[in-house]
């Protein structure tokens, strides 16, 4: 399997986009969830990265940064059986 996260030295000639945008609400939320879950000991930084690296290569390259985080965190929690796969959809149906 190709490893899309392993970018060091890869040919990529697009210029650096210097403009930085502030995170929007949902990005701040997943950023906060990530730090909070780590602080509470549900997983380690290394685990988060391992799950980011497990994302399907095509999906990885088409996801935004925090989209990857959301995917990885969800998968960690499911694998640790802290949440079930259909919990999120059930919650969304309630909204």
């Amino acid at each position: 399997m190709p490893k899309p996260h392993d970018l060091g030295g890869k040919p990529h000639f697009d210029p650096i986009v210097l403009k930085t945008t502030l995170p929007v609400d949902w990005e701040l939320t997943i950023d906060g969830i990530s730090s909070l879950l780590r602080k509470k000991g549900f997983y380690l930084t290394d685990e988060l990265r391992r799950y980011i690296e497990k994302i399907d290569p095509e999906q990885y390259l088409n996801m935004t940064y925090y989209g990857r985080w959301c995917t990885a965190i969800t998968n960690i929690l499911i694998e640790k059986q802290l949440i079930a796969e259909d919990d999120i959809q059930k919650q969304l149906d309630l909204l």
Partner: protein, 215 residues
């Protein structure tokens, strides 16, 4: 060694934008995840709000305070280079967990440091806040190690060819911060004025501190 990834990367200019795809589905997904965590009692709304506020408070101003102190106190500078984590704890800065440590890299007349995280986005958030978008971008992560001088040019920095560039790759456990050279003509500046010269980019190595006339 770089196997199939080139299939993705070398054709990048034909694809929309790797770093800016559609996000609407994740907005919903994050809300569902948050509600799930709340309903199961794994986190509370107050805890989450406090954490977001805490993350919001960290900015490059924190890192700049540390560097200005290193510029003015030789003993602190030595401690900072010898053991970054321990030295910044004197000033009340602590990593988010026991696994993370800080290494401070001192630039010299002949050596410049550039920080990247090729694998993802590891960054000394507890000293500089959230990383800028370009730090997390595929372009920066891929080229920082192969063409650091080209990267610096894009940031408007041209280094003398006699200055070597050392690129360091961050990990989950080891976060780096650059200790830039103190600009000349700053002998009479106070701490606050010195802090004002220190930019975020100079702490990552893609920029240099302002000179006093500019700052």
């Amino acid at each position: 060694m770089y196997d199939n990834l080139e299939d993705h990367v070398s054709h990048s200019h034909q694809e929309p934008h790797f770093d800016s795809p559609d996000t609407s589905s994740f907005e919903k997904q994050v809300e569902g995840l948050k509600q799930t965590l709340l309903s199961k009692g794994l986190i509370t709304q107050v805890e989450l709000e406090e954490m977001i506020a805490e993350l919001d408070q960290r900015t490059p101003f924190d890192g700049a305070q540390i560097i200005a102190r290193a510029w003015t106190e030789r003993d602190f500078r030595n401690r900072l280079i010898a053991n970054g984590t321990k030295a910044v704890s004197e000033l009340g800065y602590h990593p988010p967990d026991d696994f993370q440590s800080l290494v401070v890299l001192a630039n010299t007349e002949f050596l410049h440091h550039l920080i990247v995280c090729t694998l993802c986005s590891c960054y000394p958030r507890w000293l500089l806040g959230r990383p800028p978008d370009w730090y997390k971008s595929i372009a920066y992560r891929s080229r920082a190690v192969s063409d650091p001088r080209g990267i610096l040019n894009e940031f408007g920095v041209t280094l003398d060819p006699n200055i070597s560039i050392r690129v360091v790759d961050s990990t989950a456990e080891v976060r780096y911060m650059v200790l830039p050279l103190r600009p000349s003509g700053t002998d009479n500046l106070n701490m606050k004025e010195l802090v004002g010269l220190i930019t975020r980019d100079s702490l990552i190595g893609v920029g240099l501190p302002h000179s006093p006339s500019v700052g």
